[in-house]
């Protein structure tokens, strides 16, 4: 049976950056070779929200409706929950079918490649597709090389029977070599023993043994190699059988930092965007294991990874939550989980209701219609496109945030709370309250905005994900 091919690639990285100089100025040294800047997640971003962003871009690039997804794999070493099925929320937000086969792959930075292999062997799915998303935001101790290198990002691949970019061959290799980089259960920071020669040897030889199984005669335009820093991937060039220029042709680590499981997918997206037509993937995870694959052919790519605002070091520490406040005692607005659950279609996918009497759009679609005041039995649903316009807005500054938003404000600074008129399908609008992501700036009335899904807040330990609006075109 023919394996599915890649029919669309998406990539996403947060807009915030911290430079090597900034970290070096704080610590007197910078312990991540070959890195100029790293991508820093906003306080309301995590591996799940980045996965959404990349997954949506991949589906857009492929021109595939989310309803066509039969297989959804989510790879990350930094899941926001150690236990709890995050693919259910990913399914809901992406709007992929509830009946799709889903899996979470974690525990190694090669989990994205492992998920890819799993999908290749599970597919094809007839007229349907597979979606493999790799998303990561690694952390280390603030003074460690792992933290200095740590970036953030996500990559996603749509696989289909007729995908134009074939995964012509793939191979894996395992090698019991612990201690390079590992994280014990319950911890958030990843340490390593720092045995440099041992780490390097394990990295290069494990990748090499995986690559040894491939057809050595085939060349590649680019090699997307696991990049814990900006130096190691080049060390593996010879064992992978490629030139260092070939590795450089797919590198993202110098600008995004170590993106963990997303590293190889982001490299693939970058190489494809630059015109590469044959790309060698070299995924590696300490412990150790490697998976290599060869991708041949052109495929549409949608990439949003360019950097925007550059953080100073205190702002960086605030984003990391190193020096910020937890939610204070005193209680936040209590929305029970079952109550929250009733609003999931609106929070995740902007599903409005249309009044059967006057046809006005309503969010939430319950109770009396906001326009004609009739109270229908049910509201027929309408999917909103996710664009809108600011109608009223304020920037909440110090002292203006309720307790449950103190952590967000402490990490990200002032935030914009607004009333936004969301566009309906036929030129009508429906107004909703929403935070507006505006890079810390105020927002004028009339500003066009687009929906993204972020962390809204956490109560009783349960993080509530939902839409926020982002100023259209924001990256600066």
């Amino acid at each position: 049976m023919t394996r599915p091919g890649i029919t669309g690639v998406g990539a996403y990285a947060p807009r915030l950056r911290v430079t090597a100089e900034t970290v070096a100025a704080a610590w007197g040294r910078f312990d991540a070779a070959g890195i100029e800047t790293t991508a820093v997640p906003e306080a309301d971003e995590d591996a799940l929200t980045m996965a959404v962003a990349a997954g949506r871009r991949a589906l857009t690039a492929a021109g595939v409706d989310p309803g066509a997804v039969a297989h959804l794999a989510f790879a990350t070493t930094t899941p926001p929950l150690a236990e709890g099925d995050l693919t259910a929320r990913l399914t809901s937000v992406l709007g992929t079918p509830e009946t799709a086969h889903t899996q979470t792959v974690t525990g190694s930075t090669r989990a994205g490649a492992q998920a890819l292999v799993g999908a290749l062997e599970a597919g094809p799915w007839g007229e349907q597709v597979g979606l493999v998303v790799a998303s990561d935001c690694p952390r280390g101790a603030p003074d460690s090389g792992i933290e200095h290198a740590a970036g953030a990002g996500a990559g996603a691949l749509v696989l289909a029977a007729d995908g134009p970019a074939a995964v012509t061959e793939y191979a894996s290799h395992s090698h019991p070599a612990p201690g390079g980089r590992f994280r014990r259960s319950g911890e958030t920071e990843t340490p390593g023993l720092g045995v440099t020669a041992y780490d390097r040897e394990t990295f290069t030889s494990t990748l090499g043994r995986a690559a040894d199984q491939l057809d050595s005669e085939t060349t590649a335009d680019a090699a997307a190699v696991q990049s814990p820093d900006g130096k190691l991937p080049y060390r593996a060039a010879s064992t992978l059988g490629v030139e260092t220029e070939t590795v450089a042709a797919a590198e993202t680590v110098s600008s995004l930092g170590d993106t963990g499981v997303a590293s190889v997918f982001l490299g693939l997206a970058s190489a494809l965007e630059e015109g590469a037509r044959s790309v060698l993937l070299g995924a590696y995870g300490d412990g150790a294991g490697a998976t290599v694959a060869r991708v041949e052919g052109a495929v549409p790519v949608t990439v949003t990874t360019e950097g925007g605002e550059r953080l100073d070091y205190p702002a960086y520490l605030r984003r990391r939550g190193e020096i910020t406040r937890e939610e204070p005692a005193g209680g936040g607005a209590y929305v029970s989980v079952p109550t929250w659950q009733q609003t999931i279609p609106q929070r995740h996918r902007l599903v409005a209701g249309r009044c059967p009497d006057c046809r006005a759009l309503n969010i939430p679609p319950e109770g009396a219609c906001r326009v004609c005041r009739h109270r229908p039995e049910t509201y027929p649903t309408v999917d909103l496109p996710g664009t809108g316009t600011v109608e009223a807005a304020t920037r909440i500054e110090q002292g203006g945030a309720p307790p449950e938003f103190v952590p967000q404000q402490s990490q990200s600074g002032p935030y914009v709370s607004a009333v936004v008129a969301l566009d309906g399908p036929d030129g009508e609008t429906v107004s909703v309250p929403a935070q507006v992501i505006a890079g810390g700036q105020s927002v004028d009335i009339g500003t066009p905005v687009t929906a993204v899904v972020r962390r809204l807040y956490t109560q009783e330990g349960v993080t509530r994900y939902g839409f926020k609006m982002q100023v259209a075109g924001l990256r600066a």
């Binding site: 009223a392 309250p433 004028d444």
Partner: protein, 458 residues
């Protein structure tokens, strides 16, 4: 069943007198002698001043519904100072306010005369959230009197007074005590902020990270955008109300502030600065409402509740028809004018709900003091200054006098009563006949407007 002790229906000994029954020592000045119009069961031909006929030629305000029901009169009103009072409890504050109201009754009043008690309170801090009205009245020794808490956020005690008026007008009570109390300064700022947001629409609006400063700031943004108004227009509200509050011995922030201080203060939620926001205060206020049948037993100064109007609206701003007006307040105002048979031009002063500076500008327009978009001009021209055509917030308003949420509405009525009885001291408006109070719950989910008339002057 255990021991079958009989219910003690006949408590031994006489009920204690309502002590102290302070004889009024106010100088009523002005030599106003109330005439006694025919009010009981009959139609009073109320003067209709300041009314503009509608385009269709109909009389705008219909006074006919007043026929057949009792009129209601404020016979006493009082408040504690508003501010930070760490030595007080919600019960001691409420008792002090009731003492002040009782002290304002010209001939005094016995507590046995009180037929009904309504206590407005949001319940900030939790405390005795359930049965807080009986808990407050037990402290007064008013055991046995029906006592209810009314909650409508910042309009709690405005609604409490409205219920007292309803009780009297319906004939169920001859005298009803309505008031409000809130204790807000004995908590950490984080806990306070939690409570400041509980009346916002919780599931959607609040979860964008707003307390009321944020929601009113959104309204301000829409207003400034729509009418090309400026932050200085907001600051002028603060300047005026602080100047007024500086002359009010019961004001929380009894100091003046300059235009620059107001505009340049730290931003809370743009465009609102700290000086565009009212403080959180401790305080209580109480109002005694009596029927026309008994009013003359208590006072010769007849301050009639000429009209009361109330309305609700969507709790969340995003669900409303307008972000640049408070529809509930507009409707409440129209109903109050209608029932009083007077319009805004008849008013001699008004106490409006200036929880944030923008709210006072919206109030001018919602209450018909000026056209839409003209509030900044009305304010800047001095029309609402103490010596202007329509003094607004002579007490200092919520901004300067303070905003103990549950006490605010009754506090506004206290200022109105003092003005109409010539007891407003340095803040006294000359010989007023009509005064209006405007009390808004949350960002406009509820509103209640009272119009009081000093009879004998109209």
């Amino acid at each position: 069943m255990g021991s079958n002790r009989p219910l003690d229906n006949t408590r031994p000994g006489p009920r204690r007198a309502f002590s102290p029954l302070t004889a009024p020592d106010r100088d009523h000045g002005g030599g106003v002698v109330a005439q006694t119009p025919s009010v009981r069961g009959g139609v009073r031909s109320a003067p209709v001043r300041g009314l503009t006929p509608r385009d269709d030629g109909k009389i705008l305000y219909d006074t006919s519904e007043r026929s057949g029901v009792n009129d209601a009169y404020v016979i006493g009103a009082g408040q504690t100072p508003f501010g930070a009072m760490p030595g007080e409890s919600y019960r001691s504050l409420f008792a002090s306010a009731v003492d002040a109201a009782v002290a304002g009754v010209e001939t005094g009043i016995d507590r046995d005369d009180i037929d009904e008690v309504i206590v407005g309170s949001l319940g900030v801090g939790g405390r005795q959230l359930g049965l807080s009205a009986p808990a407050a009245t037990e402290h007064l020794g008013l055991d046995g009197v029906p006592s209810t808490r009314v909650e409508n956020a910042c309009a709690a005690s405005g609604y409490a007074v409205r219920q007292a008026v309803q009780a009297v007008k319906s004939g169920m009570a001859d005298v009803a005590l309505a008031g409000g109390v809130e204790l807000m300064t004995d908590m950490s700022s984080d806990v306070t902020k939690y409570w400041l947001g509980v009346s916002g629409e919780t599931e959607w609006e609040r979860l964008t990270g707003t307390t009321f400063a944020g929601v009113y700031a959104q309204m301000a943004s829409a207003y400034l955008d729509r009418y090309d108004a400026t932050p200085e227009d907001l600051s002028l509200v603060s300047v005026k109300n602080h100047a007024n509050g500086a002359t009010n011995p019961k004001a929380h922030l009894d100091f003046e502030c300059s235009l620059a201080e107001a505009t340049d203060a730290p931003t809370v939620a743009d465009p609102l600065t700290l000086y565009h926001c009212c403080p959180t205060s401790d305080g209580a206020a109480a109002v005694l409402v009596a029927s026309g049948d008994v009013v003359d037993e208590y006072t010769s100064e007849r301050v009639r509740v000429a009209g009361v109007g109330a309305a609700s609206d969507r709790v969340g701003l995003f669900q409303r028809e307008s972000y640049t007006s408070i529809t509930a307040a507009e409707r409440a105002g129209q109903r109050a004018y209608e029932r009083a048979g007077v319009g805004p031009a008849a008013l001699d002063f008004a106490e409006v709900h200036d929880c944030f500076a923008i709210a006072e500008l919206l109030a001018y327009e919602d209450l018909g003091f000026c056209e839409r978009g003209e509030a900044p001009e009305l304010l800047a021209a001095g029309r609402t200054d103490p010596d202007g055509a329509l003094p607004v917030n002579t007490s200092g308003g919520l901004k300067s006098k303070g905003h103990p949420i549950g006490a605010t509405g009754a506090g506004q009525l206290t200022e109105a009563f003092d003005q109409l009885t010539g007891a407003a001291g340095d803040r006294q408006v000359p010989d007023p006949t009509y005064g209006l109070t405007h009390n808004v719950g949350g960002s406009g989910g509820a509103a209640v407007v009272h119009i009081l008339e000093r009879e004998g002057r109209a």
